[in-house]
Amino acid sequence: MNDYQRLVKNIIGLAIIAGVIIVVYIFFIKEGEKDLVIDDTPIHVESIKTIAEISTISYKDEVVVDTIEYYDGNFDMYNPMDWKNIVYDRKVKRRLTLIFRGEVNYGMDLSDGNYSVRQNEDTLWMKVPAPEILDIIISPNMTEVFEEKGDWADGTRKKLEGIGISKLKKNAEAMGLEKKSLENAERLFDKLIQTDKKLIISFE
């Protein structure tokens, strides 16, 4: 057997061993993804509140929040892990990227009779609170963990979720929806208050 044949044999042998190792790792060692189902536990009502909120605008948006951590330290060309970090991982040690599809609701909070009506023979004045953000709605079904590399604590995830909520709020405020909310409120009250009198609505 000449050297060339021996080399080919060795390469084939190493490839087979590597293949077996990969198969064993994938099928017997690596934890595969499976659909876990939560146990059936009861829900409990923790509080009940009577409110009176009129929502007039709903704004849906999508925001992305990302956090990334790079490998630091000097590159050691004799360390295979350093090569992996640079070539395969592009120096990214950990990364968590979340996508939120949230909803921001504008409207007026009329709870506790927080409005007043005054009228004379030909005019009806109504004073209601100015429109504000009533709800910033996100939920797990509106959240997507788009990228997760490395271990991440709940605290970091919560921090990212907080940033996501702030972004949703900021985007909604940038849209200047208060004016549109006022117009919708006026239209709604106009429909509800069927009167021949002149209706004047003021917001404070």
């Binding site: 017997f28 939560i38 829900i43 605008i57 009506v117 709605i137 939920s139 079904n141 979720e161 709604l188």
Partner: protein, 164 residues
């Protein structure tokens, strides 16, 4: 399907009841197999979740002929109560207990989100049993009566549409 992002929608919902609902999300992943090294061991997690749910009536569904005025008396036909908002603020969701042993991997954030999604679905499914819609309907009636009385009507008649 996410075609509804970046949407501004005109609404006219009167929310009259707000419930805070809690649910303990429980997962026991004890799938040990002697030959499956990566599966040897248990994983357990308890996540405390909370949802803030508001319910009320959609005033934009009221048509002009749903309101009838006769002198000092007004009759209004209210649409049925519905859930107006459902949110699970991450501030109030936290892992109570997490245990991993053997050769098992820790729960990832993706897995935790999947569990919380299932928790959210379970809360949504059970909402009809907590009486929030009936409560919201009653509160809406009271609010509407008070509203029209402030406008000077002596008699306010509410006609309800049955909650399905």
């Amino acid at each position: 399907m996410h075609e509804n992002v970046y949407e501004i929608r005109d609404i006219g919902e009167l929310s009259t009841s707000e419930y805070t609902i809690g649910k303990m999300v429980k997962v026991d992943d004890a799938d040990s197999s002697w030959y499956w090294i990566g599966k040897y061991g248990d994983r357990k997690i308890l996540i405390n979740t909370k949802a803030k749910v508001k319910a009320g009536v959609d005033l934009s569904k009221i048509k002009e002929d749903d309101i009838t005025v006769k002198g000092n008396s007004i009759t209004i036909k209210l649409p049925p109560a519905e859930i107006t908002s459902f949110s699970m603020d991450p501030k109030y969701t936290y892992t109570e207990m997490e245990s991993v042993n053997g050769f098992r991997d820790k729960f990832t954030q993706k897995e935790k989100n999947t569990f919380m999604r299932q928790g959210e679905d379970a809360i949504r499914d059970e909402l009809k049993n907590v009486g929030i819609l009936q409560d919201a309907e009653k509160n809406a009636e009271e609010f509407i009566k008070d509203f029209y009385k402030q406008l000077g009507y002596k008699r306010v008649i509410i006609k309800k549409t049955t909650i399905l």
